[in-house]
């Protein structure tokens, strides 16, 4: 058996292929979740790519080496061409993942998607009870989601449930895990909200206390043990409670390419918020030029852009300075060290937010639901300044 490694990286280019392609087919969504990561000014994006344009993106990206495909949004199923897009993706050899709230799914549509070659569905819940699910999403969708889970299971798919965790539902973890287990989920993703976009606006409502987080981790560990071999549970802690930042989308421009509904190509789905950076549009540029040559994708590639304390930090290879959007939101400088890092001169901003989260209090500002009206108002607001 050959022991040679015939796939050493090409020495002529240190930039690998965009293995992960995420298509945000639309920002339209019937849900109004308070932690949505879509841009707060999503309502000003109207000219969605056509079916033919999405198919061209798929073809060009596949030639570049993209192989994992996420179909997301918004709610992707509000478009009636998800079946056609899935079929072309399947034909090209992508592994296709549909990321959905379930709204817009029916038994017939699921059959059609499966026939088109859909490989996987991730279904989101907002909480374990009708009352809380429907409150957090501002819609009556809980019963529909339960039905979707049954259809997914009976269609022979592995069932991956996702529930975004935050201060308002973290104490219900027990019932959330129990619900997932009863539904026969294979995987349950319990990802704490990270604070971008709508979640950043609502942060004072959503950031859990340390005590809540510790209880949740304990609950999760017990259930992990109990459900061993039946259901896997992923639990993601909010960055604010970490001492070191995470890589930005596995490294800016290393793995992920997101295409927003209007065709803007991005190194991650929130990067559009960064000022002074231009991101190319797939309507005007080919995917190869976008990935390798555009200013937007090259701006934070590698480590040349780093300042202190990152530039001389021994951990810089590991976290690559953390998240650029978090640096912008918290330090007002997209080129700064992610303030989640204890070495950041802006780390006190994170500590202050965490400190406030330890107080039992109701924030003065109301929760802002992800609604068109709110989005239009937010689009008018000035950019944060240093």
């Amino acid at each position: 058996m050959s022991t040679a490694h015939p796939y050493l990286p090409d020495a002529s280019s240190s930039v690998g292929p965009p293995l992960w392609l995420l298509l945000e087919l639309t920002y339209r969504c019937p849900l109004q979740c308070v932690f949505c990561y879509n841009p707060v000014d999503f309502a000003s994006v109207e000219n969605e790519l056509t079916t033919q344009e999405w198919l061209r993106v798929l073809q060009e990206s596949r030639a570049l080496g993209s192989v994992q495909l996420g179909l997301s949004g918004g709610e992707p199923l509000v478009r009636d061409d998800v079946e056609e897009i899935t079929a072309e993706a399947h034909r090209l050899g992508y592994y296709t993942n549909l990321i959905t709230s379930g709204v817009g799914l029916s038994r017939e549509r699921l059959t059609e998607l499966k026939r088109a070659g859909l490989d996987h569905i991730q279904l989101s819940f907002q909480d374990s009870t009708r009352e809380m699910n429907d409150f957090l999403s501002h819609t009556r969708t809980f019963e529909l989601k339960r039905r979707c889970a049954e259809w997914i299971k009976s269609s022979g798919y592995q069932m991956v449930l996702n529930c975004v965790i935050h201060r308002l539902n973290i104490d219900h973890l027990e019932t959330i895990i129990d619900m997932a287990a009863r539904m026969g989920a294979d995987y349950l993703e319990l990802a704490n909200t990270q604070y971008y976009s709508w979640a950043h606006l609502n942060r004072e409502h959503l950031l859990p206390s340390r005590a809540q987080l510790e209880r949740a981790e304990q609950t999760m560990r017990q259930w992990r043990e109990r459900l061993k071999g039946k259901m896997r549970i992923f639990f993601v802690v909010p960055d604010y409670y970490e001492q070191r930042p995470k890589r930005c989308a596995n490294g800016w421009g290393t793995t992920l390419m997101t295409v927003a509904p209007d065709g803007t190509a991005l190194p991650c789905h929130t990067a559009k918020m960064l000022p002074g950076l231009s991101f190319p549009n797939v309507r005007e540029h080919g995917m190869r030029d976008i990935w390798f040559d555009s200013e937007g994708f090259n701006r934070f590639r590698g480590q040349g852009w780093m300042k202190e304390p990152c530039a001389s930090c021994e951990e810089r290879d590991k976290d690559l300075g953390g998240c650029r959007c978090q640096a912008y939101l918290l330090a007002h400088d997209a080129g700064a060290t992610d303030p989640v890092c204890a070495k950041s001169p802006h780390h006190h901003v994170v500590l202050a937010a965490v400190e406030r989260a330890q107080q039992p209090r109701a924030p003065e500002a109301p929760l802002v639901f992800r609604r068109k009206e709110s989005s239009r108002a937010l689009a008018q607001r000035p950019l944060p300044t240093r």
Binding site: M1, S2, T3, A4, H5, P6, Y7, P17, L19, L64, G65, V67, Q68, G70, G93, Y95, N97, D119, H120, Q122, G156, Y157, Q158, V160, Y187
Partner: protein, 90 residues
């Protein structure tokens, strides 16, 4: 996993040649692993038809090497623990 088991890729798992990466990869929900040559040669034979013994014999014949049994078994256990393959018992 026993000698007579006939391993196959589990539902939702796909083995695929990727020219750009010049290797086989294993694709699963929202993830991917790039396989080395040994792993891909073993997994390509996990078709639910061939038994573990037959897979070992085939690999030994193809690569003209004896004594692969333990390595193959070790990998199949690992792949089972990862949820990549399941065994159809005979």
């Amino acid at each position: 996993m026993t000698h007579a088991d006939r391993p196959s890729l589990r539902s939702g798992i796909r083995l695929q040649w990727e020219a750009v990466q010049n290797s086989y990869v294993l694709l699963y929900p929202e993830g991917m692993v790039k396989l080395n040559t040994s792993a891909s040669e073993i997994l390509r034979r996990c078709d639910g038809v061939r038994s573990v013994d037959e897979i070992v014999a085939d690999l030994e014949a193809t690569f003209q090497r004896a004594g692969l049994h333990d390595d193959v078994m070790h990998f199949l256990e690992l792949a089972t623990a990862q949820g990549w393959i399941g065994a159809t018992q005979s």
